[in-house]
Amino acid sequence: MAMQFYASPEQIMRDRSEYARKGIARGRSVVVLTYAGGVLFVAENLSTTLHKVSEIYDKIGFAAVGRYNEFENLRNAGVRMADLRGYSYDRRDVTGRALASAYAQTLGSIFSEQGKPYEVEICVAEVGSAPEHDELYRLTYDGSVQDEPGFMAMGGQAEAIGNILRAEHSVSHTLGEALKLAVKALSSVGGEGGAARTLAPEQLEVAVLERARPGRKFRRVIGAALTALVAPAKADPPKAEEPQAEPAKPGVSKPAATTKPDVPKPETPSAQ
């Protein structure tokens, strides 16, 4: 007769945690930090289409590490929840805190009820009217949620990356300074024998929640704008602080998208 082995609840939870942590630590890292003009997301990501950083709502951004299918699922849920709330109430009533709490509940019940926990770590960021009102929430696989102090790192070797951010982060940084710090932190780990690496702009996925932007504040920083921003400060071109908007799909009569002047997405439509 088969023996039924007893495993204590503590043991089960420990095993699940370990499983989730291992999965998360295998992935490349993501850094989120506030700067004078808003919130900056920097992910190490070779793909230009499978995003680790995305827009949830007007002021809310999302970043994740871990298994793509799992965090993509949560991202969709977040977009749906935010749009449902915004449509039922008002666009201003969609908050990062409510979203973080829904994610926490969801991750928590998946962790305790399902056989396999989600191997993800998530950041929900909301840009406020002033730097002191920016909010960063870290959500982990077991549903715990933390309010982070202006910067956070997720993924493999998050601790080492976080230490560099802790030492140098300042909310008065410009976008260029914040991005250079994020790249420095990300590239400080993972080299040969623990040495630093060099990260090319093509290996980065960068996006910002821009405080000054009307309506939808999320914007990806790509192409020439990104290259200019991560380039070592030699001449420090003034336009580096004014990166171009995410080039829309080029229209017929438009010049190359990267030479286009900054054209903000028009204000978010709002009905009467």
Partner: protein
């Protein structure tokens, strides 16, 4: 109320189910009461119960499109609103104007805006201009029951086509009927609403190919003036209260609303020209 609004527990399964990028489809599952076409109406005609929004014109140019709407909403013989706004951006590259029952129209427009943005966020790419127009047609179709009881709403949709192959074909205009029929207007302009007959007659004489965006905007304001001249439900420029038509453009730079000063100047141009030759 609907799931997900302040519910303390885990997000319901419908939130995490993959498959649909449509906000309307999602609402059908979680909160069907929020959809405009899902309400049962008492039998009978209800046409005069709710305010009506009136005339909208759209003109395409080589650079994009212009859409303009007057500011009046009527309820029978009464003016329900003097400063209603009936032209709105649907997304960063397209515009929507509504005529018909104002309440239903505005609800439909809000839903359409969320629909487009929702798709863009979930998919990471915008719908094509034709895709947007088809989506709007589907939404109108769902309102057919209400339309037959007098709560009809007809939109006008126009936008800058990011996928256009030929220069000069970037600005496109789509019109609809209450059954959800979708028609692209190749003539370069269109108008909807009670004053549309007069607005179109005005444009028929004055529209020509190769207009600039500003000229087209001026033309749209003039067409609305003609509509207001002959249709009581269309409001003309209100110089006393400083209420002028809403004029919006959609070009490669995105959508933009002309400032009140710009539309005021355009309206004053028309008034000055008509003062010399009022017509009968």
């Amino acid at each position: 109320m609907s799931a997900g609004l302040g519910s303390p527990g885990r997000l319901p399964a419908s939130f995490t189910t993959p498959g649909t990028s449509s906000f309307t489809d999602f609402l059908t599952q979680v909160a069907p009461e929020l959809l405009p076409g899902r309400r049962t109406l008492p039998a009978g005609m209800n046409a005069d119960l709710a305010p009506h929004a009136t005339t909208i014109v759209a003109i395409s140019t080589d650079e994009g499109v212009v859409m303009a709407g007057d500011r009046r909403a009527t309820m029978g013989n009464l003016i329900a609103s003097r400063d209603i706004e009936k032209v709105h951006p649907a997304d960063p590259y397209s515009l929507i104007g509504i005529a018909g029952t104002a309440g239903v129209g505005i609800e439909l427009m809000r839903l359409f805006q969320v629909e487009l943005q929702h798709y863009e966020k979930i998919e990471g790419a915008m719908l094509s201009l034709d895709g947007k127009a088809n989506r709007l047609a589907t939404m109108i179709r769902q309102n057919l029951g209400a339309a037959m009881q007098g709560l009809a709403v007809i939109p006008l949709f126009a936008g800058f086509d990011l996928d256009a192959k030929t220069p000069g074909k970037v600005g496109r205009i789509f019109s609809f009927d209450i059954a959800g029929g979708l028609y692209e207007e190749h003539g370069g302009y269109d108008a909807i609403g009670s004053g549309s007959l007069f607005a179109k007659s005005s444009l028929k004489k004055r529209y020509k190919r190769g207009l600039g965006i500003t000229e087209a905007a001026q033309l749209a304001v003039e067409a609305l003036f003609d509509a207001a001249d002959d249709d009581t439900a269309t409001g003309g420029p209100d110089v006393i209260r400083k209420i002028f038509p809403v004029v919006m453009t959609a070009t490669a730079e995105g959508t933009q609303r002309l400032t009140d000063e710009e539309t005021a100047a355009m309206a004053e141009n028309v008034i000055a020209a008509r003062a010399l030759q009022p017509g009968a």
